[in-house]
Amino acid sequence: MSRVNTVLGPIPAEELGLVAVHEHIGYGMPGSELDTKWWKTPEQRYEETVPKLRRFHEYGGGTFVDATGICNGRDVDYYRSLSAKTGVHIVASTGFVGGDTALPFFARASVEYLTEHFVHEITVGIGGTGGRAGVIKVGVSRGGRMTDLDKRIYRAAARAALATGVPVLTHLAIDAENAIAIFDAEGLPLDRVLFGHVDDGVNADKTRDTWIAEQGGRIGFDTFGYETELEDPPFWARPRKERLDHFLRFIGQGHLRKVLASADANCSPLGWPGVKGHTVNYIFEDLIPDLRAAGLDEAAITTIFVDNPADFMTIQK
């Protein structure tokens, strides 16, 4: 049976449709909830979020994968109401964006505890919400190298992925040798891992995307839209054409079946200002038109946004 866990329950993978595989309803660093400068009323949060999801649905978007980690403002009750009211399937993550976003309770936890926690969130539910996680988020802490804690989280993610069949999605694909060594040691096939953010402005040069693909990993060009052309670009922005050329070059090397693409946008950021004008709908409004203009056919576009994510997201048991 093909299944994917969404926050409202399992759905058949055939129903995912077009998937935005790395997005955020709202992201904030742990502790940002203490700083009132970022607070928004629930009215404001819905007001900023609902139209973006509705637009996504109207454009033909099927599924929104929220890649927000456990301590980063992940709010499954809220996601459930958004999904029910907009018709967009929302998949929530277990795991952490990186070791530096795991609070002390998890930072001190053993690999065994972290594994058990991830498995619980995938098979039983997240807190008391009833919603189950459909993907495991892991990542590399600031600084460019995997920390010991990052490695413990990767190892626990690998074990939980094997135990439950859900895939793993990474924040950053730098230091991939260490990541792949852990996945190999744990016996997790690399096609269950999406190595994300290979396209980001800070790390693209240091990311061995081709090598990762050759090892069998999936490759995430998933910061589309964070462009230096923006009015107020973030530090990880990159010139639009440079990113697009990178993506097309990579596909041209025969990696079409390996790539996924997304915008990593926040519908309503929680602990940072966000980036004005950047939403999940960049996929429809900019990226897909750019790909068509570059000569990609509809079959290829379907492969990138529908077939590859369905293969990746399907629980493999």
Binding site: G28, M29, P30, G31, S32, E33, L34, D35, T36, W39, K40, I70, C71, D100, T101, A102, L103, P104, F105, F106, A107, E116, H117, H120, E121, V124, G127, S141, R142, V202, P234, F235, W236, L270, G271, W272
Partner: protein, 337 residues
């Protein structure tokens, strides 16, 4: 409120409790270093951690009533803003039990902070400086303590921070300086837990020109601090000396070897009084009312009153000195100046 820092007499002053300002002379016997709900940061998300508010309330109310029955008046939750603090629950507890509750702002040491303060979304990810911590903490006094992403409630009654046990880190120093500046700006006191050198860590907050009488140094009944003579040096500088692990021995917690025994603690109190520091001593238990995500200790808030005061009396400490330590000193410390 930053005006004259008059020592001693605090007759006209008030203390920030969770139910609002209370005249300082109404506090009664006050325990300055205790924990009500103590949640190790992140444990609230743990799949096997349950936070049943009704159950937590019942446990804490029982412990507070026991404290009151033995003559206690005020409990200070000195766990800061990011260790399970639940202001609404504390308001209800105070109303129900009649015990004054003072809650704290502040956080630390570095390891206990969220990534927002340590690796912010800037390039490079520079940890927060003192000035930003000062602003965060001061607003919890002037505008009220936060219920994250929901609202602000009553004013914090003190700023609590701590240094890394192995030694103060750069971020710990920012926390200490920020705490001192917040205290200067708002008039509430500062509570510090030192790392590996109590006097050195105290000097950091004093360097911010915070009068020593606005500072309490916790954990001075730690064996290493006692061996180094830190309680006397801290008192000599004019800061409050908290011997705040009363009753810890024999509770099976891991702090057994870290702190002196109650008998040794009582002897230390007598020596401090004899050295003229009777107006600088504070007694407390660091009792964890309800602990989530870390081991609880099984110490009652009333331990000072039920077991320790009799020890002091037996060693010859007079009623006047006992009263000064249990009532007058915390009143003077907690009074908003």
């Amino acid at each position: 409120m930053t005006g004259a820092q008059t020592a001693g007499n605090s007759t006209g002053n008030t203390v920030n409790t969770v139910l609002g300002p209370v005249p300082a002379q109404e506090l009664g016997v006050a325990a300055v270093h205790e924990a009500l709900l103590s949640v190790f940061p992140g444990a609230q998300y743990g799949f096997d951690v349950t936070l049943d508010r009704a159950e937590i309330f019942e446990t804490l109310a029982g412990k507070l009533k026991d404290f009151r029955r033995h003559g206690g008046g005020t409990i200070v939750d000195s766990t800061g803003m990011f260790h399970g603090r639940d202001v609404r629950l504390y308001e209800t507890l105070s109303r129900t039990t009649g015990v004054h509750i003072v809650a704290s702002t502040g956080q630390g040491p570095e390891e206990m902070l969220g990534g927002y303060f340590l690796t912010p979304q800037t390039n490079p990810p520079t940890p927060w400086p003192a000035e930003k911590f000062a602003d965060l903490f001061a607003k919890e006094v002037t505008e009220g303590m936060v219920v994250p992403r929901v609202e602000r409630r009553g004013a914090a009654g003190l700023v609590a921070t701590a240094a890394t046990l192995a030694g103060m880190t750069a971020t710990d120093e920012s926390l200490f300086r920020g705490a001192a500046r917040a205290a200067l700006a708002t008039g509430v006191p500062v509570s510090i837990r030192f790392g590996n050198d109590a006097v050195r860590d105290l000097e950091v907050v004093l360097d911010e020109k915070l009068p020593a009488g606005r500072v309490v140094v916790g954990g001075l009944d730690r064996r290493d601090a006692v061996a180094a003579g830190a309680p006397f040096e801290v008192a000599a500088r004019g800061a409050y000396v908290a011997l705040d692990h009363v009753g810890a021995e024999g509770t099976g917690d891991t702090e057994d070897d870290t702190h002196v025994t109650d008998a040794e603690r009582a002897a230390l109190v007598i020596e401090l009084v004899e050295a003229g520091h009777g107006d600088r001593i504070l007694l407390s238990s660091n009792a964890t009312g309800v602990a989530k995500g870390h081991p609880a200790n099984d110490v009652a808030y009333s331990a000072v009153l039920t077991t320790f005061v009799p020890l002091l009396a037996k060693q010859g400490l007079g009623d006047g000195d006992v009263r000064r330590i249990l009532v007058d000193n915390p009143r003077d410390l907690l009074s908003v100046r």
